[in-house]
């Protein structure tokens, strides 16, 4: 993936770009708003990581708005030290697609970038999701693995759906809290883990191949490939 990183803090910039490159992506960097805007407008990127506070009191949100007005639809992830929910809403309204507060775990950033690009490729109107022999019927609200029907409660269904929509990608606990439970705060206990293990009981325990995997220090992933 070709990624543009606009971040003025040198340490963060180096840390993130190195990490992204090690994950197999190509990274262009800009340490100020003007260069960032220029690069974003003139090159094709699959995703842009934009810091909100840029030198010269330039607001990253203003750059995002300018890009959107000019018709660029590249997904943009906003990095910000402002953690308030209202700031998050402001960021998303300006045209950002996701919002990550500093300090952040690199795994979180990586997982969200993957999720953004997957979304950009468009899921469209799907009626079913499938990973290996696990099949989820979105219309009939049914889950089947192999020849066995699995009974799931509504929240478990929502959880599995999110995981399957991001099949093959790392999904962090924070992403799950935000998208499955609409909780934009950290409950500080690993309740999500308990939900995952319960789900795992239902869809993996009695089957040969485990699909729901734990990614150390990152989150979870549903995938057919052995890890």
């Amino acid at each position: 993936m070709k990624i543009l990183l606009v971040e003025d803090n040198e340490r963060v910039r180096k840390f993130v770009s190195k990490g992204l490159e090690e994950a197999g992506h190509t990274v262009d960097v800009a340490d100020n708003g003007r260069d960032g805007l220029f690069l974003a407008a003139s090159e094709r990127y699959e995703v842009i990581v934009m810091d909100r506070m840029l030198p010269g009191d330039i607001d990253g949100l203003a750059i995002i708005e300018a890009l959107r007005k000019a018709g660029h639809r590249t997904p943009i992830l906003i990095l910000s030290a402002l953690s308030d929910v209202d700031e998050r809403i402001k960021g998303l309204r300006s045209g950002g697609d996701d919002y990550l507060t500093k300090p952040f775990a690199f795994g979180e950033l990586l997982a969200r970038l993957d999720a953004l690009t997957r979304r950009a490729q468009g899921d469209g109107a799907q009626t079913a999701l499938q990973v290996d022999d696990l099949r989820m019927d979105l219309l009939g609200r049914k889950v089947v693995r192999g020849d066995r029907t699995i009974a799931l409660q509504p929240r478990e269904f929502k959880l599995l759906e999110y995981l399957m929509r991001h099949a093959g990608q790392v999904v962090t606990r924070t992403m799950l809290l935000e998208n499955v439970w609409d909780y934009h705060f950290d409950p500080q206990t690993n309740v999500v883990d308990v939900h995952i293990s319960k789900l795992r009981q239902k869809i993996d325990a009695e089957f040969e191949r485990p699909l729901l995997k734990t990614v150390r220090n990152a989150g979870y992933m549903i995938s057919a490939e052995p890890r």
Binding site: P103, A105, W181, P187, Q188, V191
Partner: protein, 507 residues
């Protein structure tokens, strides 16, 4: 009021000394709102007086005048009759008789021939200034050697004779004169009284405002304990003073709160930061083998995450304390939030063999911050999950109270909180003795209390016999700070069940 822009000493001087009045001083006085108001009233009063007096005067004049003239015309007609019956000589004699009978010129009578030569009457000659046509005129005549303004009715009789019947109206002049004098007098009295009153009011107002100014100055010097004097008169200035006093209470509390928080932060964040530092320093000194080193580094990252979480929570608390989030209130269904929270924690509860339930009672709508309320409910349930031992019961209830108030309660049958600790439980960083060894930094309950307060309510911890009842009441009135003892944060927490607007959530 422009008078307030002057420094204090001059203000005090101005309130007493009226000497040395230059135009600037007078202009300033006039511009003061009390005086302007009073002058406005005075002008209004004068205008009202004039508006009242003018129609009155003209009405009086018209009716009196009309009556007078009517009488004169009737008289005139009577004389005409006499003329027809007895002729000019008869009329002249008649007039002579009448004049003789009068006491003091009540009637002016004059009969003249076609050449205006006097024939009979009490005027020496045909008065000048009487127009040629028959009609009613008011002209000066010589009556009894004196000039007198008179109203005359002139009639023409057959044969060219001219008759004047009239009345001396000079007598009424004084009445009119006194009418105008009276009106002017009233206006003058009104004006003087108004101006005096204005000055007196201004002085009274300025004295009170002066005392407010002095208190404000003392407060700005840094002594927040001052309060504005409020006489128990219940007038607008008193209300203002009381409102400002309440504001000062709140500010004093916030300032003390901030001082407390700074102390708490300094004290309680130092510990994990110190631990982190020594961990890293030890790593740097001992330089163990890579696997162990990386394990230590992972642990250090985890430590930093803890500190970050603590910062976030403190920041959130500070925002809530400052009331910054109140403007974002929307309509929220507390029952829905509670149900979602229970659903979220259910697997965790099952893991510990705890029964966690929520009693549906329909939607419970209130205006609030969705995120904060969700966080508060989550915190209460989280706490219960942490401290209730295996096999216990946790119940979540949402009830409507009096007015718009809503109560959200989490009840458990765990060890509860000892009465002595209840007031302290919601203090920042407070962790009860029984909590040693469990994860968490002790901010959960203080966050819940802050959120409850933000929504115009409170957190109440009570005995559930056995266990703990943690009840958050919301929206039971306007979120104004009541003056209260600045004893720290745990004011709304009761050690014993208090009689609130709700039934104790038991059964």
């Amino acid at each position: 009021m422009s008078g307030l822009s002057t420094p204090l000493p001059e203000l005090a001087g101005g309130a007493h000394a009226r000497s040395g009045l230059g135009w600037p001083h007078v202009a300033r006085v006039i511009r003061s709102s009390a005086v302007a108001l009073a002058l406005g009233y005075v002008l209004f009063g004068c205008a009202a007086l004039v508006l009242f007096a003018a129609p009155l005067r003209y009405a009086w004049q018209a009716s009196v005048e009309d009556f007078r003239i009517q009488v004169l015309r009737e008289d005139s007609q009577r004389f005409e009759e006499v003329f027809r019956l007895r002729g000019a000589d008869g009329l002249a004699a008649f007039i002579g008789e009448r004049v003789g009978m009068q006491i003091a010129g009540e009637r002016i009578l004059l009969l003249a021939d076609a050449h205006l030569k006097r024939l009979a009457g009490n005027l020496p000659a045909w008065p000048a200034g009487v127009p040629a046509q028959p009609g009613t005129y008011t002209v000066p005549v010589m009556l009894g050697g004196q000039r007198a303004m008179s109203t005359l009715v002139r009639t023409t009789l057959p044969g060219g004779y001219n008759l004047l019947v009239g009345r001396n109206v000079e007598r009424f002049a004084p009445i009119e004169h006194w009418f105008w004098v009276g009106l002017a007098g009233a206006l003058a009295v009104l004006s003087v009284a108004g101006v005096l009153g204005a000055l007196l009011i201004r002085r009274a107002l300025l004295t009170r405002i002066h005392s407010i100014q002095q208190t404000a100055a003392a407060i700005m010097q840094g002594d927040l304990s001052h309060r504005l004097p409020a006489r128990r008169r219940g007038d607008e200035l008193d209300t203002l003073a009381q409102t400002i006093n309440r504001m000062l209470e709140q500010i004093e509390q916030l300032v003390h709160g901030i001082a407390n928080v700074s102390n708490s932060i300094a004290h309680d964040l130092r510990t994990p930061l110190a631990e982190l530092r020594s961990r890293l320093e030890e790593l740097s000194l001992t330089r163990p083998a890579p696997p162990e080193t990386f394990a230590e580094i992972d642990a250090a990252v985890s430590d930093v995450d803890s500190v970050i979480r603590m910062f976030n929570a403190l920041l959130r608390l500070a925002e809530i304390d400052a009331g910054m989030r109140r403007s974002e209130f929307v309509e929220v269904d507390a029952a829905d939030l509670a149900a979602k929270a229970v659903e979220f924690y259910l697997p965790a509860a099952e893991l510990k063999n705890l029964s966690l339930s929520f009693r549906e009672r329909g939607a419970m709508l209130l205006r609030g911050d969705r995120l904060l309320l969700a966080q508060a409910i989550n915190n209460l349930i989280d706490n219960a999950l942490k401290y209730v031992p295996e096999g216990g019961t946790i119940r979540v209830e949402v009830q409507r109270g009096s007015g718009d108030a809503i109560a959200i309660a989490v009840l458990d049958n765990g060890p509860g909180i000892p009465d002595a600790e209840k007031p302290k439980a919601a203090q920042r960083f407070y962790r009860g003795d029984s909590s040693r060894g469990t994860p968490g930094v002790g901010l959960g309950l203080s966050l819940v209390e802050a959120i409850a307060k933000l929504h115009g309510g409170a957190l109440a911890l009570a005995d559930n016999h056995p266990g703990l009842s943690a009840q958050m009441t919301l929206g039971g009135g306007t979120p104004e700070a009541e003056p209260r003892v600045a004893s720290g944060r745990a004011v709304a927490v009761s050690a014993t069940p208090t009689a609130t607007a709700f039934d104790r959530v038991t059964s």
